[in-house]
């Protein structure tokens, strides 16, 4: 059940976009209220809210609590990057899991306290057609009292499910060494995009840390 392209939701989104792009609505100007829009298009408030939230996601408009929605100042320097989009979803295949001494494994890497022990999860990353893209080594604080959910290493790729957590991702280029080239069936010196992902919760407790080694010629970061 994908969105119907003729749906009112899409019509609202397209109409609002058109007025912003054409300059009829300028940066800082107010967008019609939820109530006005729902009357004008004869749709529920929740559909209007969904349409507005889509525009907020695209940074076209922003909301001020109690005041309504306003057209954003275009941000040329801010890109939205989709690392695992619906067009080319990444799948994972588990290589192995073990319990390691956290400090040894993560010394100098994580500024957060990860505790004494950590689960080390090694996974391959694949595209849908089973094309190998990379592998990752992920560390999760290991605490005997807290159950590790199955999904922690089965379902997750980039999505770690935990909402409201902040994630920071650092990436840099790298030439494949012996180990990496062996893991990814490529030559020594092949271009690798290394990503380091740290996920922390609201209280600044570390949820996980992962090093990802992605094949440079297959894994490209796109943003808009």
């Amino acid at each position: 059940m994908a969105y119907n392209t003729q749906s009112k939701y899409h019509i609202i989104v397209d109409d609002l976009k058109a007025s912003i792009y054409s300059g009829r609505l300028n940066a800082g100007e107010a967008v019609k209220s939820e109530k006005q829009l729902s009357e004008e298009y004869t749709v529920s408030r929740s559909t209007v809210r969904k349409a507005l939230s889509a525009l907020v996601d695209e940074n076209l408009i922003f909301t001020i609590q109690g005041k309504g929605y306003f057209v954003s100042e275009p941000q040329l320097n801010t890109y939205t990057v989709y690392l695992n989009d619906e067009m080319s979803p990444l799948k994972t295949r588990l290589i192995g899991v073990k319990i390691v001494r956290a400090e040894e494994a993560l010394r100098n890497k994580v500024k957060y306290n990860i505790g004494n022990k950590a689960l080390e999860i090694m996974r391959y990353y694949y595209y849908d057609d089973d094309e190998l893209v990379g592998f990752g080594v992920k560390y999760i604080p290991f605490n005997n009292n807290v159950p590790i959910l199955e999904r922690d290493f089965q379902y997750t790729s980039f999505e770690d499910g935990i909402s409201n957590d902040s994630k920071a991702l650092l990436f840099r280029p790298l030439a494949a060494d012996n180990k990496i080239s062996e893991m990814l069936h490529t030559y020594v010196g092949a271009p690798i995009l290394k990503m380091e992902q740290t996920i922390v919760d609201k209280a600044n407790n570390i949820c996980s840390y992962e090093d990802m080694f992605m094949l440079g010629d297959r894994f490209v970061i796109n943003g808009e």
Partner: protein, 244 residues
């Protein structure tokens, strides 16, 4: 006493495990369907009653599962309407890249060069090309190649090289009518660039390509930047959503 506590712990474990299993059959199944694309963002989940029937679970368990899914950001609950698959925020990151100003922080000098400017009298547009090389301690840390179409009546002065690309676009275009893309890749350094950077041909460098289009898809320009290995850290941050 000892036996008793063991027994109690055992029982507790069993109950916990059973609970976990009941949860995960529904929660796991829905997460699986979302991850595999069988359920798409915006799709409505079956009603609680339907889920109770098809999974053979009690109403309490179903609501707790849905609560978990909602807490974890997979679905959105709209009271009296139902549960919808959320557009995944967790895979959206924000990259703030200002090009020049980011690089300038690390560079101690910049040299612009190869400036060329052609004017098309028919359209009144100027096509401007130039490049910039950023140095730190006499080493090249970044090379940028620019090509821009600018609409002006005043002519173009080579001093625009000094202007950050965003300021240039702001000056000559309506910003809301610019679409932009960025492509980031680890690549093997092309030989001519390796010469400029003074690094071996086989070096791996970061390529960051910014393209600018007008809304009808015509190209406004691009900036291709190449960063020497390890000279520059790129950060992405998870995107915060502002409303539900």
């Amino acid at each position: 006493m000892k036996i008793c506590s063991c027994w109690a712990t055992g029982l507790l474990l069993m109950v916990n495990e059973l609970n976990t299993r009941l949860y995960s059959s529904l929660t796991g199944d829905i997460i699986k369907k979302i991850s595999s694309g069988k359920l798409l963002p915006g799709d409505k989940l079956p009603s609680e009653n339907m889920l109770m029937e098809s999974y053979g679970l009690s109403k309490t368990t179903v609501s707790r599962c849905l609560q978990t899914l909602s807490n974890e950001g997979y679905i959105v609950n709209i009271p009296r309407v139902g549960n919808y698959v959320k557009k995944s925020k967790s895979t959206q990151y924000e990259l703030v890249f200002d090009g020049e100003s980011n690089v300038s922080l690390l560079a101690d000098s910049m040299r612009g060069g190869d400036f060329s400017c052609t004017h098309d009298p028919a359209s009144g547009l100027y096509k401007v090309a130039y490049n910039k090389i950023y140095y730190s301690e006499k080493k090249v840390i970044c090379f940028c190649d620019y090509l821009l179409t600018l609409d002006t009546d005043d002519g173009i002065d080579p001093s625009i090289i000094e202007m950050p690309i965003n300021n240039l676009l702001k000056k000559y275009h309506n910003l809301h009518s610019i679409k932009k893309t960025v492509i980031i890749q680890a690549i093997v350094c092309p030989p001519d660039l390796a010469d400029i950077m003074g690094i071996p041909d086989t070096s791996i460098i970061m390529s960051l390509e910014r393209n600018y289009y007008s809304l009808d898809g015509t190209t406004i320009g691009f900036c291709k930047s190449f960063f020497r290995d390890q000279s520059f850290d790129f950060h992405l941050y998870s995107k915060k959503s502002f409303i539900r």
